[in-house]
Every structure is written in C-alpha cells, then in structure tokens.
Amino acid sequence: MLLGDEKAVERCLQGDDAAWEAVVNSYGKRIYNLSYRYTCRRDEAEDLTQEIFIRVYQNLKSFRAESGSFQSWIMKVGRNLIIDHFRRTRRYQQAAGTEEMENMNLKDDKVPSPQRIAEQAEASKFLMAGLQALPPELKEAVILRDLEGMSYMEIAELIGIPEGTVKSRINRARLELAKLLSKRRTQAGMQV
C-alpha cells in the first residue's frame, strides 16, 4: 500500500470508493492499535478510530505528497485527534484495561502455550499500568517508539520536535517507567 498511497489518495479524491476502502483496510488496524494504546479502552479506541478516519476522509485534499508520506500524514492526523481527545476528556487513566487486556487477540506466528499467553498478558497489564502513570509526553514517546516501532526521525516528524529531544524524551520515559515498574514489582512481590 505504501508505494500506491499517493495513487490511492488521488483515486479517493476522484470518488473511487474502492480506493478509500483499501486505505481504511490498510491503516485501520494501525490506527486502532495506536488509539487503544493511548486510551487502553476498546470502546474509546473504536470511537477514536472512526473519528480519525472521518477526519482523514474530509481532509484528503489537504494531503501533499511533497510534504511527506501518506503514512506520516495519517499518523499525524490520528495523533492530533487522540491528543485532542485527551485534552477534551482531561483524563489520564491510572487503570489500564485489565479485563480487555486478557481478552486481546495475540498476534503471534508461533502459537504460544496458555502459560506463555497468561504471562504475556500479565506483563502487558503491568506495563500498561505503568504507562498510564507516566506524563503524557513521556507516555507518547514510549508508545510511538516501543509499541508502534517508529524510528526517532518519524517520531520527530510526527510530534514536531527535534530528534535529539525525542531521544532524551524516550530515555526519560523508559527510566521513569523502569523505576515505576521496579517500585510496583517490589510492592507486588514479583520478580523480573
């Protein structure tokens, strides 16, 4: 899809619904996961995903291929909406989606054992709880770098800050998170 993004956008602008469907299919999962990692709630993530795609559809004309890739553009639109949503709701949840976390579909090529799934779910829950306790800008850094797997440059482009700042923010975020997890682990009596 990446190579054909610009063509797909052109076709969308010409009213080709099939091209738009291809765009939604291509980026839907990523946007949904991004929303979920910010909100930790499935229903909110679904609403946000829907809002993001409506915004993207309405603003397709403003996409300029010279300014960057469609992927960066759609991620930027998504991120802005998610931040808006946070500001609107003014809620930085402390509780991670504990029940939902256990019901999540695990994407793994090798089918893991039930014990491994339970361990992973427990670790993910622990991590999400730690993430929720971080300041928004640090949380965002970890989500984009470690969960979304974006490069420093992509993050810098997306957030609109220098790459060095991104690096230091990510380091701070990881340190904060490591300290938080260490503290929580000590309280919970868990081992690394």
Binding site: I54, L175, L181
Partner: protein, 208 residues
C-alpha cells in the same frame, strides 16, 4: 563512571547504539552497581514486553461503520465472508443451537420409547402382512354377504309358503260362505235385474 551518566545513556545501552568504549564502561558499572543493574533489567523487561505486546485485531463491524460514515459505500466482502453471513451466521446462533439440541433430545426420547416395539411395528407394516390382512378382510366381507344372501332366500321361501297357505285358506272360507247364500235367493225372491259390478258383494269381489 557515575550512576547519572549511566542512567542518561541506559536506553541507548539497551538498544546497543552507543560507541564500543562507552558500552564497555557501562557494562563494568552495571556489574558493580545493583541499583543501575536493577534499572537495566527493568528496561529490558520493558523492551521484551513491548515487543510481545499484543496487537488488537480490527473488528469488521468497525470497518463497516467507518466506510458507511465516510464514503457511504458498504465494505466489499470476500466470498468466504458472504457465505458465512448468508448461510453460517443464521445457523450459528444460540437460538438455532438450542433448537437443534432440543430436537435431538426429542428424537432420542422418541427412539428410546419406540425401539422395543420397532420390530413388531416393522412386521405389522410389511407388505406381506398388509396384503394378508386385506385378503382376510375381503374374505370376511364375502362370507358375510353369502350368509346374508342365504338368510334372505330362506326368509323369502318362508314368506311364499305362508302366503300360499293363507290364500288357500281364504279361498276355502269364501267358497264356504258364498254357496248357501246364492241358493236361498234363487228359491224365494223374483229374479232381480243384474247389478252393476259396483253393487256386487264384497265376497264376489274377493273371489275375482
């Protein structure tokens, strides 16, 4: 090497993006400092957990909603999805499953109830048995008809016999009554003109 210096570069150390000398120096420090070592272990845990972090699958209903609210065109469904929605989805419902379950239970009960009588029922419904029963029925009806016919003939004969007897007796009685009356009239009374047939006595009429 101080803890602050290590903390500042811990993230890059875990990512192995530092120069070789710095990596070696930090490794030495981490072996000596339990606090920094603990932090590094936590950071590794974060990396590993993030790598294995589950990916949420996008619900097709959400895709449908997005498309309907944007382009207004429903999602293109694959053949498998279409088959599933047209045939399997109506079938794979709790209501249908309950219905099938109850039907099977009912069928099992019926079979259990009828199983001992099944052989008897099968024999009774076999073509030979059915034909035999029909044959016996026809024979019974025929013999009953014959019996009734014989009875009718007997009754008819008896009736004829009685009728003849009665008529014979009546004839004799009329003869006995009519003869003296005619003889008396001839002797005493002048000859009367002949009566019309209407004026004849009932006895005569009877004789005729």
């Amino acid at each position: 090497m101080e803890c602050g210096f290590v903390e500042e570069r811990l993230s890059e150390y875990v990512e192995r993006s530092l120069p070789h000398e710095t990596m070696v120096g930090m490794a030495e420090h981490l072996q000596e400092c339990p606090l920094c070592s603990r932090l590094m272990e936590e950071m590794r845990f974060i990396f590993v957990t993030c790598k294995a972090f589950p990916t949420m699958e996008l619900d097709t209903a959400l895709l449908d909603r997005i498309l309907l609210r944007t382009s207004g065109r429903p999602r293109t469904r694959s053949l498998r999805e279409r088959l599933r929605s047209y045939f399997l989805r109506p079938v794979l419902t709790p209501r249908f499953a309950t219905g099938v379950g109850l039907t099977l239970l009912f069928a099992a009960l019926v079979v259990n109830l009828l199983a001992p009588r099944a052989s008897v029922l099968a024999t009774a419904l076999s073509p030979r048995e059915l034909l035999g029963r029909m044959d016996r029925g026809v024979q019974q009806i025929y013999s009953e008809g014959l019996r009734l016919y014989t009875s009718k003939n007997e009754l008819q004969e008896q009736f004829t016999l009685y009728k003849n007897n009665l008529l014979g007796k009546l004839g004799i009685m009329i003869e006995q009554l009519d003869v003296p009356m005619e003889g008396k009239k001839k002797a005493t009374e002048p000859k009367q003109p002949e009566k019309s047939p209407k004026q004849k006595s009932s006895v005569l009429l009877l004789r005729a």
